[in-house]
Symmetry: D2
Subunit: 289 residues, 4 copies
């Protein structure tokens, strides 16, 4: 499990130039850094280079802040967008939920089982239904109802509560409300949604009904970053499951739940382990496998 | 292999009512018919019933025409849309092709290998490129170029040639031209297309380019009946393959080819074996497995 | 959801003969029975016929016991192995567990969410670890430790407890102990195991270690009925997930968990809905989709 | 397509030590080499490091031989098993075949379509059946029958013919004969087989019959290097397809063919593009995607 080792994660995106890997590798080697995982991606068409390196923390003579200082000149030389992340600083995650339980439940279970790096610090929901489950997992639960008359006030309250929790990541775990633009902007690249279709098919409401009507032979789910354009943000992960004429809408919903929760769990895991780099409206996902 | 046994295939679609299966089963049993495959589908929501039965030809005392006569009263009683098909009357198939070889090649190979019931009686193409391949398989090749100036005349020629071949099924094997409405209408439910995306995503031109731009994590292919609405006809079969940021458009095209040819071959096989029943804009596909 | 409709499920396996379907269909039609789902399978090679029919309970003038009496002559005529099951008589399920939580947790969740027909009436475990989870779901928890010195006595206690719970189905939810032959015999066709490999690969202990050593590119899980031959019983359901050289044993275990829980949940659902018919050492699984 | 760019491919396997990537990267950068694809794999448990780098040939001031000389000191310093391969030196491939056509046909098609880097320089078969197909693709065909009385002589003739063709890779395209140990040894890591099961399940003869008898719910195919231990060599690629009780052995064979040919084509492509590194009895496959 990633969370059991203490590592620094260096992620870099920059225009491709001769010598990047050598420069970075030498920097790490110079300080005796022990690389535990390394991933590169060269986008030859775009002339852009991506890199993710995990370095054993104990092998380096400094902490993440000092790493930052020491590495800054190299980063500047190559025009890098970059970050260094200490795996001991777990990302703080808030789940936004409604009455659908399967995704929330699955994330809580995986978190408790140690499968997800990161801390689930709260659940904010517009229904009371999941309060008991949150309690059992020891996660604070905040009930903020939303209806068409109180939307502005309600979302101000969401925003206040999320900020009070000091979160790094917002997960819309089948939350089903359109987020206000300002919040999308504030958490750009840090707000993750699960949409219950294989995007870009069936954007918007009731995707299983749309899928049923169109008569598709596979249904899917999509985990993506939220932007102001509904269901149009960068895709992190997708998957599908086979269906047939024998399945009615309730069957699609039931079968789809398993895909949704797995896709969301994978997408969130990638994000928490700093494996996802956003480039334009697409993602580079540097997996261990 | 289906084509090695001589069977009649009875396909029925009708409003659901008590007693259908009993009536049909008794009819077959009364004449000593030996059922070799049986498939039902009840669409409870729509109140519609679908049935496909394979009966060993030698076990019945009459041919398909006589079956038709004898069964007609039952069909009328239950308002059936129905057909009886003799597996020895192989469907005549024409492939419409362009310069892309993979689907044409795959169908020719499967046909020669005995995997496809039906006879490929001709290839009509708007490029010369596949003439040699057609020749090797002993299939007549007709070259009818299409350009923006000769469209009406060219399609009249396609129509004439297709009708001259007396075909039961038209397969657009990556043909890439929009078919004229009259031809769509004439061969409704008998013209099959392979679209190189997971519909309804990426309708129309250059779907792999669209998929690349959107950054999807799976690409797919869709085999469907052609209607006058581009890429909107009833879906017979679909499949997908996983891709990532590492794949450029050429990679998507290469990987997609394998999906396209398998999906088209499956969809066509289902059609040739009378396994596909169109209902509204959807299909019921009654598989042996 | 199946559990929301009140139906009788008639399952039949018998030597294939002309007239079976007609006879059964007429029987149901004669009493005005409304068929809500129908599935046939003809095994032509073995000359054996399988049939599963769901009939709306309210459409019939009698209960399951009376159905049994009325149908018995037909069953005898065709040498049927058969059963009629009232969906309101939910099967009583006991989970046998150890310290692995993922399968137990998943089944409890699905049960509570109404996805599983059947009642989980107890968890019997050889570790204390899952007691709290059982409590939260309101399921009685029985701790019966097993070690090499107390095996006979411990299993006598398991047997006593299971019988006291009056169960219809035993689920080995990653229980990891070899069951005594007498218990296997008593619950033949009613004891379900999840094995964490794609059987018949990697029978026995530590299948992920075996898979890692062999360097396979896919790992899987198998849900099967338990017989006295370890991991050799009839397979109900299997699935796989792609892995690579990048995954170590811990990764295989983590990725495999998702496959295990989904495969077990599917297999158990099929059993609870009377969709699985055992024939020799194989299963016929008559799915709705 | 890989074969359209002129690149050198540097592949390295060595014990993991601080500084490898830096040293190699600096070497390439020093000569102005333009990296077009880069892949690393660190096996932390085994302490072993794998690396594959594609460098644009025109960006380097020397050819592959000179690269070899210049790089040798670094290779020695880090105890590397390594190679440098010029993509213009296409590997020479011989197909060994029997009467099954689907894999041979698929490879010939892909080769002609430019999907496979490498040259198919001959087909050696123990049946005459594929001679015509070979002829159509312009590939020399050698018929060497094998029976239980002439085995030693026949295999001596195979060996002579293969060596005369001066091949780099032997592909057993459903050849179905056990290769003599000496030939296995001579072409160790360069002889590729497709086995028609998901190994290690169903080693040896008639795997579809074995799969049918066991009642598995998925069937598969495995592409692996041949060693003297039958079906036990390092696995390059595997895949599966879902089956059910409805499929008889002929169905399994038909469905399996599609998996076999795709798995073999992928495995061979990886090998031809120097993406497969053998380590012990396992492979590291460094994919572009």
């Amino acid at each position: 499990m990633a969370q059991n080792k203490h590592v620094y994660r260096l992620t870099i995106a920059c225009p491709d130039r001769v010598g990047i890997v050598g420069k970075v590798s030498n920097f790490i080697a110079m300080y005796g850094g022990n690389i535990t995982e390394a991933n590169h991606h060269l986008d030859s068409d775009a002339g852009w280079f991506f890199m993710r390196t995990e370095i054993e923390a104990a092998s380096l003579p400094f902490d993440a802040a000092q790493f930052r200082t020491a590495f800054e000149p190299i980063a500047r030389e190559f025009d890098m967008r970059w970050s260094i992340h200490d795996s001991h600083n777990k990302k703080r995650v808030v789940l936004l939920a409604s009455h659908e339980a399967h995704c929330v439940h699955d994330l809580l279970y995986r978190w408790q089982a140690g499968e997800l790096e990161g801390d689930i610090v709260g659940i904010v929901a517009n229904h009371e239904k999941l309060r008991e489950m949150a309690g059992w997992y020891g996660v604070p639960f905040f009930y903020i109802p939303v209806n068409k008359d109180n939307k502005a006030a309600a979302f101000a309250e969401y925003e206040r509560q999320i900020n009070a929790l000091n979160v790094d990541v917002i997960v819309l775990a089948r939350y089903m409300q359109i987020m206000p633009p300002a919040l999308c902007e504030q958490y750009l690249g840090r707000m993750i949604n699960i949409h219950h279709s294989f995007l870009p098919s069936f954007v918007g409401a009731k995707p299983y009904h749309q899928a049923f009507t169109r008569g598709v032979k596979l249904i899917g789910a999509t985990c993506h970053y939220v932007t102001q354009d509904l269901d149009e943000g960068p895709i992190i992960e997708q998957d599908v499951i086979r269906v047939s004429h024998k399945h009615n809408i309730e069957d699609l919903q039931r079968l789809g739940k398993d895909v949704e929760r797995n896709v969301l769990a994978r997408g969130l895991r990638y994000h928490l382990e700093d494996r996802v780099m956003i480039h334009g409206n697409k993602t580079v996902v540097l997996l261990e496998g």
